[in-house]
């Protein structure tokens, strides 16, 4: 599933534009704790999280996540937006809850 399609399925608002919206996404890491995201061991994945902190951006950079989706309509701080821009990590916010977001993205797993 392409990143743009993931965003569409989540009804997400784009806050930091992806350089490559057609990049292929094969999985997602859903967690509110940074260590859990760091432990994912996944590739070509996006982060779904309710955690609003600049550390989410640095964590995404460390694990090489392809995008971050904030759930429950949470809005990032301007600092987070700036960090995401600096690291070139696309950032979105979706009104959906974490579980609901996962359900919508289930095809990511089934398609494999």
């Amino acid at each position: 599933m392409q990143l743009r399609e993931v965003a569409l399925r989540l009804g997400a608002e784009e806050l930091v534009r992806p350089a490559t919206p057609d990049v292929e996404i094969r999985s997602a890491a859903a967690a509110d704790l940074l260590s859990d995201i760091l432990a994912t061991g996944k590739d070509e994945f996006v982060i779904l999280t309710g955690l609003v902190s600049p550390q989410v951006i640095r964590t995404a950079q460390v694990v090489g996540a392809l995008a971050i989706f904030l759930v429950r309509g949470k809005h990032p701080t301007q600092e987070m937006i700036g960090l995401a821009q600096a690291h070139g990590i696309p950032l979105y916010t979706t009104p959906l809850a974490l579980f609901e977001s996962c359900v919508r993205l289930a095809p990511l797993v089934e398609e494999r």
Partner: protein, 314 residues
């Protein structure tokens, strides 16, 4: 104004309407007329400058305001050739330039005007403010804040951990301060990009970055301060994270997945899953931890460039 008034998630904008002043948002290039100007001339001016109203000045004093609505009425009732003085609105609500924008938002909510003339301390007209001006100013300010953060981050990444090269080995050192969450992840980002620049396998670089990040955050959260050192050799990276205390009493317990002494506050920031040390171990080809209560903790991590260890898997 709904953009500011209604949105709960817009706390930054909320704060900004208190700190920014009316003068920061107002338009300073003014189109003004005098009472002697004809409404026909005003019509032309409004069209030319794409505005919906203009203040009326007499001897530099604000005596009224004339709007598109007045022009439409004049066309309707056939007095478009008459002068402004007779048809302008005389009771003009103005706002002081040094008021917080929040006041202007209130004004716009209270009165149904599209624009507010702005006056200085002496009551002289110095600008004009519309709701759109406020929105534009807020958007610009928000962008500026994000750009500022992006610039700071790029600078941090460029400056942190000055590398020294001796033969094939590169050494980088980062000091890590207690409680300094703002800088958590800088060492790991630098180390990751240094490895990628060397053409090290992305998965290996990622494991080094994860281990470094967890080590950094442990020093920030649990210690009184320390440092992270990385040495990149031809075939491996060695990461040493050391701090000056307080040390760990029961190292075996600290290594247990899920064990954490992090406070609620730290947990709310997303740290303190009790998975840091286990994550580091998983990423390392060789791992050592030494800790003496009162003296400090020292982590030693080695990752081989040709290793096939994985950093995760559920």
């Amino acid at each position: 104004m709904s953009v500011i008034g209604a949105a709960n998630g817009f706390s930054v904008a909320h704060e900004l309407v208190y700190t920014l002043k009316v003068r920061d948002a107002m338009q300073k290039d003014l189109v003004t007329v005098t009472p002697g100007t004809t409404l026909r001339e005003v019509q032309g001016l409004l069209r030319e400058h794409r505005i919906s109203g203009t203040p009326v000045l007499e001897n530099d004093l604000l005596v009224g305001i004339v709007s598109l609505e007045d022009i439409i009425n004049a066309l309707d009732h056939g007095h478009i050739e008459e002068s402004v003085g007779r048809w302008m609105t005389r009771e003009v609500v103005t706002i002081q330039e040094n008021m917080p924008l929040r006041r202007a938002v209130e004004f716009f909510q209270r009165y149904q005007y599209g624009r507010l003339p702005v006056v200085d301390a002496e009551g002289r007209l110095c600008g004009i403010l519309t709701q759109a001006d406020i929105v534009v100013r807020l958007m610009l300010e928000l962008n500026r804040m994000a750009e500022e953060a992006a610039r700071r981050e790029t600078e941090l990444l460029a400056q942190a951990g000055a590398a020294t090269t001796s033969g094939p080995a590169v050494t980088m050192e980062f000091s890590v301060n207690a409680g300094d969450f703002d800088n958590a992840g800088i060492a790991s980002a630098r180390i990751k990009s240094a490895l990628q620049e060397r053409g090290v396998d992305l998965k290996v670089a990622r494991r080094a970055a994860i281990a470094t990040y967890e080590a950094e955050t442990n020093i920030i959260i649990h210690s009184i301060g320390g440092s992270v050192k990385a040495q990149i050799d031809a075939d491996r990276i060695t990461i040493e994270a050391a701090d000056w205390g307080p040390g760990i009493e029961d190292v075996e317990r600290a290594l247990r997945p899920g064990f954490s002494t992090a406070s609620e506050l730290v947990r709310a920031m997303g740290f303190g899953a009790g998975m840091g040390l286990p994550n580091i171990q998983k990423c390392a080809d060789r791992f050592r931890i030494e800790s003496t209560p009162g003296t400090g903790t020292r982590l030693h991590v080695e990752i081989d460039f040709d290793s096939t260890t994985s950093d995760g898997g559920e």
